[in-house]
Each structure stands twice: as structure tokens, then as C-alpha cells.
Symmetry: C2
Subunit: 370 residues, 2 copies
């Protein structure tokens, strides 16, 4: 049995977490201790509500420090300078952001702008020679994602996607159990993620900014989850769509079900929505057992159970673990838990196929060669 200290060390090193028998505790309580000597110096680009969530979570980080900010709104930059102690010289707007190239005090930029701007912004950051984290969904489609990967490769910078679940202890335990054979041969997955979307005027409902609707925004959790729950890459996709509120969701998709076929012959049944709540779950069943996470993908706390009983993984703010995890990969050359741009591309290929299947009346889309 690992001690809590061992466990926290593993967490901070981005290594598979071992189940603790302790009850979940708060992030601050669990995730305390001194800062590391080496720090990954992070700038956030696009200062919306998600950037604020990341900035708050980073207060607990041991290996990553918030040092810069990029925004088109001067008042936001002012607020952030005050609130997060960011020096003037580390702030940029979208016109000046190219100059970040000459700033030796910023290592990486986390792009949290609206989805459809990711492509342009990641290309800008890569051109400036900085590493990039791009919030999911990577881009509007696989084509853009390929261009982003190529640009980062050409610039010699690292490119990660904000797939925070890969750093979350219940999710890592599920992956560990699957890899260790504790579930036996995986037989089926049933994942879904959605919520009732609020403000009808938000950018997420505008195609030009969001790229798509629920599928792009949260369906991608069910999809990415099907990949890490099976450890396989899908070979075919079918999908069905409905809109119960075609006025509100005029520009983007509201509710989609999609199905995946895998090389081993198993299938996954997935769904996503912007039209109702109480719709968040990962369920993977194998010949020897199962894991159910519900909630499975939200900001937490994640709750889980297996054929053996409740999962009691620690509750640490996902973005804290994610930012420390990425720092650990970059600074200490640790293995990447499937959060590279290439992983994002694998998802975007399937997202493209989901929309293609819907356009073709639910037709089966083969993924080979896509």
C-alpha cells in the first residue's frame, strides 16, 4: 500500500495513481507541499471563464506558474495583472502576441480562446517558438488540426491538448485497471456527456466561433473516453442527430448519438447534448469487471465504482494536476499520457466522421485513410 506521500509524488510526477483508502479530501489539503525548483512558466491566451478556472487551479501547482496573459480586452489584462501578479512585460494583445518570441520568461502558452480561433492562435504561438497547450476541441476539423501539428513540428515546439481527464485520478485508475488486465478483455463502452446550455447568445452557439455544438464541446469527452476506456482506435462511426429546440440551436448541433466500432470487434455507444442535464457517464465493461464513472468528465468531483466497489481516488482540481503534469512532461521528460496534438487529431477525425454520418443519414463511415 502506498503512503499518501508516495501517492502525491506519483500524482505530481504524472505517473498512474494507486487507489487510496482515504476518503477524498480537498485539493488544497491533498495537494500541498513545497514548489519544485524548476517551474514551467505559462501564459494564458483568451481570458474567458475557463482561463480564470485554470489560473485559480494553478495557484496549487508545484511545477507550473502563471506568468503571462494574452487578451484583446485591455481591462481584462489590467485585472489579471493585479489578480495574478503578472508583470506588464508578459502581457500581450492579439496584435502584439507575436513578440512573445522575444520574451525569455515565458515557456508555453495555453490557448483558451473560442474553438474556431484555436487554429489561428496555435499557429501564431508556434511561429513565436513557444510550446503550446490548446484547449479541446483542438480545432474545427481534422484538416486544421493537421496544419497545427505540422506548424508545431516545423517550429520545434511541443503541442498538447487540454485533455485534463488524463491527469484525473479516477480516470487514470480506470486506465491502469484496463492496462493491468483487471477488467479482462474489454467488451463494450457506453459514454455520454452533455448539459443544458444556458445563455442563447453565448459564443458556443455561434458556428463561426464554436465550430460546432455539443459534439465539439463535450461529445469529445465521450469520444476520447471511449478511446482510453478501450485502448483501441475506432475503425467505423455511425451517428444520429436531433434538435428539440431548432431555434436556439440553429447554427450548431444540439443532441447527437454516435457509435464506434473497434478492431477487436467491440463497439461503443456514445451521446452528447446541449439540451438537458444529468447526462454524464463513462461505462466500460470487460469480461472480468467494469468501471463506471458518473460524473465522469466534469470539473469534479468525479465519482466511480467498479465490480469491486466504490472508487476512492483523491479529489484534486483537474487543472492543477493537468498543468503540473504537462510541466513534468516538459521539464523532466516524463511520458505523455496521451494528450499530444496527435491525440487531438485522432478525435477530430472521428468528429468529422460523426458529422459526415449525420449528413449521410446515419451511414457507416469507415475511418481507414481518413
Amino acid at each position: 500500500m502506498d503512503t499518501r506521500r508516495d501517492f502525491l509524488q506519483k500524482l505530481s510526477l504524472g505517473i498512474g495513481a494507486t487507489a487510496l483508502t482515504d476518503l477524498p479530501a480537498s485539493a488544497r489539503e491533498l495537494y500541498s507541499g513545497p514548489k519544485a525548483d524548476k517551474q514551467l512558466r505559462v501564459a494564458l491566451m483568451g481570458l474567458g471563464s475557463y482561463a480564470t478556472r485554470v489560473a485559480e487551479a494553478m495557484k496549487d501547482c508545484k511545477m507550473a506558474t502563471l506568468v503571462g496573459a494574452v487578451s484583446g480586452t485591455p481591462s481584462k489584462l489590467e485585472t489579471w495583472k493585479q489578480k495574478y501578479n503578472i508583470p506588464e512585460k508578459n502581457t500581450y494583445n492579439y496584435e502584439t502576441v507575436g513578440k512573445i518570441k522575444d520574451n525569455p520568461d515565458i515557456d508555453i502558452v495555453y490557448v483558451t480562446t473560442p474553438n474556431s480561433l484555436h487554429h489561428k492562435h496555435v499557429l501564431q504561438i508556434a511561429a513565436a517558438g513557444k510550446h503550446v497547450i490548446c484547449e479541446k476541441p483542438v480545432a474545427d476539423n481534422a484538416k486544421q488540426t493537421r496544419e497545427m501539428i505540422a506548424a508545431c513540428k516545423k517550429a520545434g515546439v511541443k503541442f498538447y491538448i487540454g485533455y485534463r481527464m488524463h491527469f484525473e485520478p479516477h480516470t487514470r485508475e480506470l486506465i491502469r485497471m484496463r492496462e493491468a488486465g483487471e477488467l479482462g478483455k474489454i467488451m463494450h463502452v457506453n459514454n455520454y456527456m452533455g448539459f443544458k446550455s444556458g445563455d442563447p447568445n453565448q459564443w458556443r452557439l455561434k458556428k463561426a466561433l464554436a465550430g460546432g455544438g455539443a459534439m465539439m464541446d463535450v461529445g469529445i469527452y465521450a469520444l476520447n473516453g471511449a478511446r482510453y476506456a478501450t485502448g483501441e482506435e475506432p475503425i467505423w462511426v455511425t451517428a444520429q442527430e436531433t434538435k428539440t429546440d431548432p431555434v436556439k440551436f440553429k447554427e450548431v448541433d444540439e443532441t447527437i448519438m454516435f457509435q464506434l466500432g473497434f478492431p477487436s470487434g467491440i463497439m461503443a455507444s456514445c451521446g452528447t447534448t446541449y439540451a438537458f442535464n444529468n447526462y454524464e457517464r463513462l461505462y466500460v465493461v470487460g469480461e472480468k469487471g467494469f468501471v463506471e464513472l458518473s460524473p465522469a468528465f466534469g470539473y469534479g468531483p468525479i465519482k466511480g465504482r467498479t465490480h469491486l466497489g466504490p472508487m476512492n481516488q483523491p479529489v484534486v482540481t483537474h487543472q492543477t494536476l493537468q498543468m503540473d503534469g504537462i510541466a513534468d512532461i516538459i521539464l523532466n521528460n516524463k511520458p505523455d499520457p496521451n494528450v499530444t496534438g496527435e491525440e487531438g487529431l485522432k478525435d477530430m477525425i472521428v468528429v468529422d466522421a460523426v458529422y459526415e454520418s449525420i449528413r449521410k443519414g446515419g451511414a457507416k463511415i469507415m475511418l481507414a485513410g481518413k
Copy 2:
């Protein structure tokens, strides 16, 4: 708050059950009390393991009595005469069963023979002028089901399907909540039912006897559940199939996912399998709340929770409630909770469409006019 006596009376009358705060108790304990004056006199046809289950459950019935048996195996009839006190004059084989017409001591025959024999046997019983209960699935397809309904109509006998869940307290409470608007507008359904099939030589894996595989046998629970969870009839179907063990499941379907579209614009995601366990759940989510039953369709105990917390419906053997419920409908002219042959037909039309969609590579099958 109803008293337990009120509750039991409602149960015995086939009326919607009200939640008890009592912990679940055993069937015998909960379902005690005197027999009713009037009894529905039942013969079982096809003395396999399911017939035994029904016979055992009927020991607790108040309004239904096991009085007869039909089997092609003389030794089984001997055993049943002894075990269930069945008089010689109420026993038949498949050659003599037509003579049941002249037996005034049998009111109804419950057909529990293999699926593909249901059509022939229901026609025989109808021709003998006796009411019929037919175990699900009704038949091999909708065409046979229509012939069975027509035959019963012509003979002036009642025709019910062994849809025991419609008498089960958690299921009835779900239907009551939905009808009372307590879930708000229904938005989505996610149902599945399956298990790992054992003996490779059983009749359920032979197409000539089973008609089909998991879809016919247990997928029908997910399907019927989608109909009672929404209160709507599907208008389209898509489906996907896989076989992880094509040798064992050479003749019948192993694992199928199917999706339903409903007139209100909502969709249901369903699945079924013969290849793995831990796959049994009904989940219906509305604008105001949800109901999850898991296990949802097996012989019990059914477990449920809603947005308000755990469901604590009583645990009574389903077949006891079902047989008393059908007795109550027939003897006391009580409303039928959607277990008629016409309900079976609605399911079989969808089952036909599931297989059609699979044959057509997952194509969307419109149900209008089917």
C-alpha cells in the same frame, strides 16, 4: 402516505404502486394474505426452466392458480402433477392440446415454449377458445404476431404478452412519475440489457427455435423500456451489430446497438448482448429529473434511483405480480398496463426494423407504414 395494506391491495389490483418507505422485504412476507374468491385458472405450456419459475411464483398468487400443464415430455408432466398438484385430466401433450377446448376447468394458457414455436402454439390455444399469455418475444417477426392477434380476435379470446416489468413496482413508479410530469418533458433514454450466454448448445442459440439472438431475447427489454420510459412510439430505427464470437453465435445475433427516434424529437440509445455481463440498465432523463433502474429488467431485485434519491419500492417476485395482475384484468375488468398482443406487435415491428437496418449497413429505417 399509504399503509402497507393499501399498497398490497393496489399491487394485487394492478394499480400503480406508491413508494413505500419500508425497506424491501421478501415476496412471501410482503405478499401475504388470503386468496381471492375468484381465481384465474392457468395452464402452462412448455415446461422448461421459465415455466418452473412461473409455477413457483404462482404459489404466492391471490387471484391466479396453476391448474394445468402441457408438455411433449411425459416425465415432465408426471413431475408437475406431483409437484404442483395438477390433476391428470388437466395435462396435455402437443398432440392432444386441442382438447383443452372441452376442459371447463382451465381459463388461460401461458405459452412458454421456445420463441419460434409461439406462433403455432398461440394459434392452437386460440383455436381451442382459451385466453392466452405468450412469453416474450411474441414471435419471430411482426407478420407472425399479426396472425396471432387476428387468430385470438377471431376466437374471441384475450391475448397477453409476458411483459412482467409492467407489473414490477419500480417500473410502475417510473411510469407513474413520467405520467405525472415529475420528470418534466422526457429528453433522452439510454437502456441496455444483456448477459454472457452459457451453454453453446442451448435452443436460444439455434435460429430455428429462437428466431434470433440477444435482440429477440433481451434486447426487447431495452426496446419495450424505451417505449414505457418515453410514453411514445418510435418513428425511426438505426442499428449496428458485432460478433466477438462468431463461432458460438453463428446462427443468432450476439451484440447489437440500436437507436430510436420519437415523434417529440427525442432519441433513445439502446443495446443488447449475449457476450458479457454487467449490462442491464434503464435510464430516462427529463427536463426536471431522471430515473435510473439498474438492474432494470432481470428477475430482481430491481434497484432504482431518481433525482430525489434512492427508490424504495417493494421487492415482490415479478411473475407473482404479473399473474395476479393478468387475473385481475380478466376477472375484474381492470385496465391493462400495456401487455396486450398489440403491445407485443409494436415491439416486433421495431425488432424487424433493427434487423433490417443491420442488413442495410446501419441505414435509418422509417417505421411509418410498417
